[in-house]
């Protein structure tokens, strides 16, 4: 039973294929061009040559040239205007940019000058303060040196005062005082040192 059905299906498919091939052959033979169509196109070309001759083409070329020149001129004008506008805008932009840059640079420069000025003022103030301190220190040092020198002078004077006075007394009245006049003083001095002299003599004997 199944085989019969299978054979039936195969026969149907085969008949459909044959029919399709036949149809394709019929359609291919119908699409071939006829010989007189090619001739028509050549005739049309000849008519076009006849209508658009050299003079007409020259006129058309001139008109086209003029139109083209007009368009070129208009375009050039528009381009010039655009260019001027662009140049003007560019100038404005450049001016504003340069001005802004210059302002910024000048501001920075001014700030730098202010900073440098502040720094210089601070430095000068520090220097002044330092100079004041050094001056005070130097003043104190000089004062101490003067006091020291004064004390040394006084000390030297005190140290040599006995010699000075002795020299002065002897120069002034030395000739008027001979040893006889000094006897009482000398004996007084002996009396004051008597014990020490006796003690030393007793040790020496």
């Amino acid at each position: 039973m199944t085989i019969w059905w299978l054979l039936l299906i195969l026969a149907s498919v085969g008949s459909l294929g044959v029919g399709f091939i036949w149809l394709a052959v019929r359609v291919g033979s119908a699409s071939k061009k006829p010989e007189h169509d090619y001739n028509a196109e050549e005739a049309a070309d000849r008519d076009v040559e006849h209508l658009f001759d050299a003079t007409f083409r020259e006129e058309l070329r001139n008109r086209g040239r003029l139109h083209f020149e007009k368009i070129i001129g208009e375009s050039a004008m528009f381009l010039q205007q655009d260019l001027r506008l662009t140049t003007s805008q560019l100038n404005e932009y450049m001016k504003s940019e340069i001005t802004a840059k210059l302002q910024a640079e000048l501001s920075n420069y001014e700030q730098s000058i202010v900073d440098a000025k502040d720094l210089a003022i601070e430095s000068i103030q520090k220097t002044n303060s330092l100079i004041d301190e050094q001056r005070e220190s130097l003043t104190e040092q000089v004062r101490q040196e003067i006091i020291k020198e004064k004390q040394q002078l006084i000390l030297r004077f005190e140290t040599n005062m006995a010699d000075i006075i002795n020299h002065y007394v002897m120069a002034a009245v030395g000739e008027q005082i001979d040893l006889s006049d000094q006897l009482e003083y000398i004996l007084g001095e002996f009396e004051r040192n008597k014990v020490a002299i006796i003690e030393d003599l007793n040790h020496g004997i």
């Binding site: 005062m161 006995a162 002795n166 040893l179 006897l183 002996f190």
Partner: protein, 173 residues
């Protein structure tokens, strides 16, 4: 039988005029010369009797002061021994003055020194013009500045009391 105690040795004093060790040496030398002269005179003894002796002032002075009879050999021997001992052992002070002291000054000084310091003390005198007033005394081991300068130094505070106010018055305020 107990023997009598030996008499205490006679205390001999130096005259004020004997000041320096040289003076003592000169006296000892004179005494020695005298002794030699007497020996020679004895050897040359003639019929003229006791020879006449002549003494220097210094010798006469010490003999008189100590009641020695220089014609007596024992006294001369004692005095000789005394002078030698003085020359060897007497304490010596070296005193410098700014000028040559007069004999009168030395007499007074020696009188005081023999009375207060030592009865046989001798002096050597030096000159130091820089001393000014007073003197410098050098003993065996010490040096005493008895000059006016030392007195001024000792009394320096007193002088400063007078000088400092005067200096402060002259200084600007």
């Amino acid at each position: 039988m107990a023997s009598e105690p030996a008499p205490a040795p006679k205390k001999i004093t130096l005259p004020i005029s004997v000041v320096t060790p040289s003076d003592v040496g000169r006296l000892a030398h004179e005494l020695e010369v005298l002794e030699n002269d007497l020996v020679q005179l004895k050897m040359q003894k003639t019929d003229n009797g006791v020879p006449q002796l002549s003494f220097t002032k210094g010798l006469e002075r010490i003999a008189e002061l100590n009641k020695f009879n220089l014609s007596n050999p024992a006294d001369r021997l004692t005095l000789q021994g005394f002078l030698v001992e003085v020359k060897q052992k007497a304490p010596v002070l070296h005193i410098s003055f700014n000028s040559e002291p007069s004999p009168l000054f030395l007499d007074k000084l020696m009188l005081w020194l023999r009375r207060e310091i030592h009865p046989l003390v001798l002096l050597t005198i030096g000159l130091q013009p820089a001393i000014g007033a007073g003197c410098m005394v050098r003993t065996t081991n010490k040096y005493f500045d008895l000059s006016m300068r030392q007195t001024f130094m000792a009394k320096r505070p007193l002088l400063l009391e007078q000088i400092i106010p005067a200096v402060n018055e002259t200084q600007p305020a």
